[in-house]
Symmetry: C2
Subunit: 384 residues, 2 copies
């Protein structure tokens, strides 16, 4: 895929799975995929500076159109030089369209063919978001990748509700495409919807592929379905997407979900899980999650992971536990940085494994390590 | 003053005031005075990493014996290598003795000649703190400077209550001296009490000076008195202290208080004001305080101070305001770092002014700048 200033170059493919490694080149820098985008909902990755997000290994991050349009408002961001300048992150940014937040955060949302009308979760004021407005906001923010506005519904749901929302999402994608001014260096990605129905997912993918978007997202997941159901959707959708375009699985997820999605050909991820878990004293490791409030760490002199280059792993688990028990904000920062660093290292290892033809053993090894600890928690929640 | 591993060398004196500039040499590094010690109550300066505290310009910090003995306990800290190792701050640390926290934080404190008995503010358990125990805790923590346990009372108060507490503070200072093991490289500073009565303050200073401590603090201030009353106490106490020993004004204060105290011969300060104000969206500047939630900053593209090297001043005031309005923790970090950097730069300027014989114009210039904004807020509160 090549568009003005953007290029997606696949550099390695796994032989046994659909996993691939690529370089997504943008005017603001390269993103090595599979890649994880930290979530900077309100123009900040919670608790961290942009510099710290970069030192975690992140090359691209996500910000939320819904939140930023409500506060401080996209016009304010534009007046202050655009989102990159505003938040001090010079590298690529992807903005979502607000579809997921309307579904999850907004109060009394009513969606008709023209637009979504809802009440702001901040002050209760009435907000209207149409496909055209979602495009205009994202152009004002100046993100590198913009998402089309989609209609997200809860799962499980009645088949006709899902079909109706999926068909609307396709029509709205077409309207978003038409609304793009072409005046900003910004790619627009489409979003495949369709609930858990493989046929409907494939139909949606086919419709969107016919519209020739430069990238495709898989949306409407991590809304209550099981991991197995999610993987089944990926098995249906990924083969229907063009090989030469980036594929982005929205709002997912656990480390095991990322590895399984990479195996199915996904390139980009975002999720609040590493930062939210960090703020809740949960650290990701190759042996599963550590809950740092646990009394067994009270005198533990070792770091979470002596190999980890993050800010938390300069300290003992005893110190981290003390900070959490004492209610100190530094704890939230340190563990957020650890978890983001863990996710980045995981995907760096995945890229390396794909390049070296060792993805199968990488996948098996990681899954075995995590399974010792059990798991299975919902992966997505609204708003960073 | 020279004690094993410690030395206090005065390098410059102002000709018109009692201001002096010195190097306080310790086994863990030099502290250039007048110096401000950020408050790391619970083994962390709130919201910041030790590295960030160092980049603000701080050379020494304060930690709280009361808090650390309750949580995680001084034995845990000792087992983990001592306070410096525990919190990742290799430079000098001063620990207070708990006297002020018993006064301000503990519930149902009863003080008799032997000790203070009170209930922990964390879990309500009964805690006993004697002069001997305060020494033992601070030796276990391994701080570079320990404070004697003093008896702090509220102001205003009955003359006999203040006199009784002051006399007890002297007796407790003597017991602390006797209790020091001499096995750790740690100086013990005495604390001059005496309320607002110049004669009682001088009497207390004389008693403590006769005991030949290597450093002297002025305590029991910032507990409700006016700035003028505080300055009157300094005028009485400082001349009674030996010229060759460091002088530490505990828990003070506003930038103007620091400058006025430096003029009266104070060398060391600590206060929660810069960090607490930072967490409350208030930034210190040479033109007074800025309240960053104010709507007038909503589209302000300029930093708080373009000359300031802190983390906040890489961003626009509009971005900082956005972070506060959005409830983002990053805002608290950035403004804490700004305010600590402001305090450190202020004292660096004071040292430079003293060395160059320009302290009078420095003092007048700073006071004029701050007075444009008005001010006068209480400076101290318990517990960082």
């Amino acid at each position: 895929m090549t568009r003005a200033g953007f290029q997606f170059d696949i550099v390695a493919r796994d032989r046994q799975t659909a996993a691939r490694s690529a370089v997504f080149r943008t005017p603001r820098g390269d993103v090595h995929t599979p890649a994880f985008m930290p979530v900077g909902t309100q123009a900040t990755v919670k608790t961290l500076t942009a510099h710290e997000v970069a030192t975690s290994g992140a090359e691209m991050l996500l910000a939320n159109t819904y939140h930023l349009s409500l506060r401080p408002g996209e016009e304010t961001v534009a007046e202050l030089g655009g989102l990159h300048q505003f938040m001090g992150w010079p590298r690529p940014i992807l903005t979502d369209s607000g579809g997921f937040q309307i579904f999850s955060l907004a109060e009394m949302a009513r969606i008709d063919e023209q637009q979504a009308v809802f009440r702001s979760h901040i002050d209760g004021s009435t907000v209207r978001l149409s496909p055209e407005r979602a495009v205009a906001i994202q152009e004002a923010l100046g993100s590198d990748v913009a998402m089309v506005l989609d209609h997200v519904v809860a799962l499980p749901n009645a088949a006709d509700v899902i079909r109706d929302a999926t068909q609307r999402s396709v029509r709205w994608a077409e309207r978003c495409r038409a609304a793009a001014s072409g005046k900003v260096p910004q790619l627009q990605f489409a979003i495949v919807q369709g609930g858990l129905d493989p046929q409907l997912r494939q139909w949606c993918a086919d419709q969107l592929v016919a519209l020739d978007f430069p990238g495709y997202a898989i949306g409407g997941l991590s809304v209550g379905e099981s991991p197995a159901e999610m993987y089944t959707v990926l098995d249906a959708v990924c083969p229907a997407l063009p090989q030469d375009r980036p594929r982005y699985l929205m709002g997912v997820g656990r480390p095991e979900d990322l590895v399984e999605a990479v195996a199915r050909g996904v390139d980009l991820f975002d999720c609040v899980m590493p930062t939210r878990n960090g703020r809740n004293a949960v650290a990701f490791t190759d042996a599963g999650k550590l809950r740092l409030r646990n009394a067994r760490f009270a005198r533990d002199p070792d770091p979470i992971d002596p190999e980890c280059p993050c800010l938390a792993c300069r300290h003992s688990k005893a110190y981290l536990r003390h900070l959490f028990m004492a209610g100190e904000m530094l704890a939230l920062r340190l563990l957020s940085h650890h978890n983001l660093t863990y996710y980045q290292r995981l995907l760096a290892e995945a890229r390396s494994a794909i390049a070296q033809g060792e993805f199968a053993s990488f996948r098996a090894g990681k899954l075995a390590g995590w399974q010792t600890a059990g798991g299975g928690e919902p992966t997505q929640s609204p708003g960073g």
